[in-house]
Symmetry: C2
Subunit: 250 residues, 2 copies
């Protein structure tokens, strides 16, 4: 789905660079600045520094005078604001709104939008009421009620993350090692029997009064999700214990 990030009247060059980087790590590259404080903000040193390699996003970014120009081709607008406005669109948490927008297996969305724009106001004043009124939803990132001061680029990072996750997300980087095959229940039971003999042999476990030692160990190893190799190692330990105990009898 086409996705655009729109920064309105942004003051700090660092935030523009941070926004470009935050977008790019989540696979987005359509950035539009409406009337930024610095006309040359896309080329300022602090911008490029904070973008840290997201130069293509900066190169593609557009600067426009009005919000109207920024929204061309977008059919679903999300404001971001800490405080709901009277007569404004409904305020929603991002995850909740994205699930409703894209639909879920139980509840398909009635009509998915073609292009979604996320609007971010200035660092000092946030969004103007009249800009919020145009939007279909007002996204509020849930923060500590006593300290809701979210940095602009950090807010972009959170929205880009939640939106990317809602769109299906990225898979994890492939693991260097293949998944560890787990030992089956029979292998575990065999190891426990072996270990029990060893514990008796070293006089730790009294077979006349075993209490709950073996069930406890069983639970412990269950939680540890042992592989066949782990079983092999633990059986080695039991064997060594038994051999040692045998020697004491000579």
């Amino acid at each position: 789905m086409r996705t655009r990030f729109v920064l309105i009247q942004t003051s700090h060059a660092g935030n523009v660079g941070g926004t470009a980087r935050a977008m790019k790590v989540m696979g987005f590259d359509d950035l539009v600045l409406v009337a930024p404080r610095w006309a040359n903000v896309l080329r300022r040193e602090e911008t490029v520094q904070r973008a840290s390699g997201a130069n293509d996003v900066l190169a593609k970014a557009r600067i426009v005078d009005t919000l109207d120009e920024a929204l061309e081709g977008m059919d679903h607008l999300c404001a971001t604001a800490m405080t709901p406005r009277d007569f404004g669109p409904p305020t929603r948490q991002p995850r909740e709104h994205f699930a409703a927008l894209l639909g879920t297996p139980d509840l398909p969305a009635p009509s998915r939008p073609g292009g979604v724009a996320f609007l971010f106001g200035s660092e000092r004043f946030g969004m103007r009421n009249e800009d919020v009124y145009r939007c279909h939803a007002c996204l509020s990132i849930p923060t500590d009620p006593l300290f809701g001061s979210l940095n602009l680029a950090a807010a972009v990072q959170l929205i880009a993350y939640d939106w990317r996750q809602a769109l299906g997300g990225y898979a994890l980087a492939p693991a260097a090692a293949p998944d560890r095959p787990l030992a089956d229940a029979r292998a575990l039971a065999g190891m426990l029997l072996h270990l029990e003999q060893a514990l008796v042999a070293v006089d730790f476990l009294d077979p006349e009064a075993p209490k709950k030692l073996m069930p406890r160990l069983n639970q412990l190893f269950n939680r540890a999700a042992l592989s066949d190799e782990d079983i092999h190692i633990l059986r080695g330990v039991a064997k060594a214990m038994l051999q040692t105990a045998e020697k004491t009898k000579r």
Copy 2:
């Protein structure tokens, strides 16, 4: 649950400030720095500037020489790393791991930890293998496979957000206006009937060949989630249409 953020060998003062702010907006305040590049990093100008009001987090933060000292009292350690390590702990996406750690309604966690530490490596080199090996899980934030360069403070922001959400999250800021009470089905049906008469009166709707106009309008108004006030307004429109049509007959 006790939660600590541990930055290991951090180079950039701005990232320490950004981390403090990112933690505080999500309600966390326990920050420990292991061997940062600058001994006075907590008081540097860039740190304080980027912390933007999270001064109490900086004031409480501790600087220590070794990771051991940083982990005192924590019993569940999460590394953060882009690339999985051989022989390291399992690599998981944050949301997935947090759900498993805290349990879900269907699947309660076997034993919830008492203190969770999130470890972040240096900007240039990430985490050392030996530090990753100590951890119970390796969290990998899913990013674009072609550009995984996540800023340190941005990574802290995402983990703090996902962890706060997993712990139950914050409610939205209360809306300034009370929820709009929706009109009930009877009110909607009455309005539609009124509107239908009006549409016939203005010769838009041919009662002999109505096609699917009224069902379509019904669906449209359903999606619009009308309030009683909306109904009142639409009935006013219908009434005005009827009155106008009446006048044409005189």
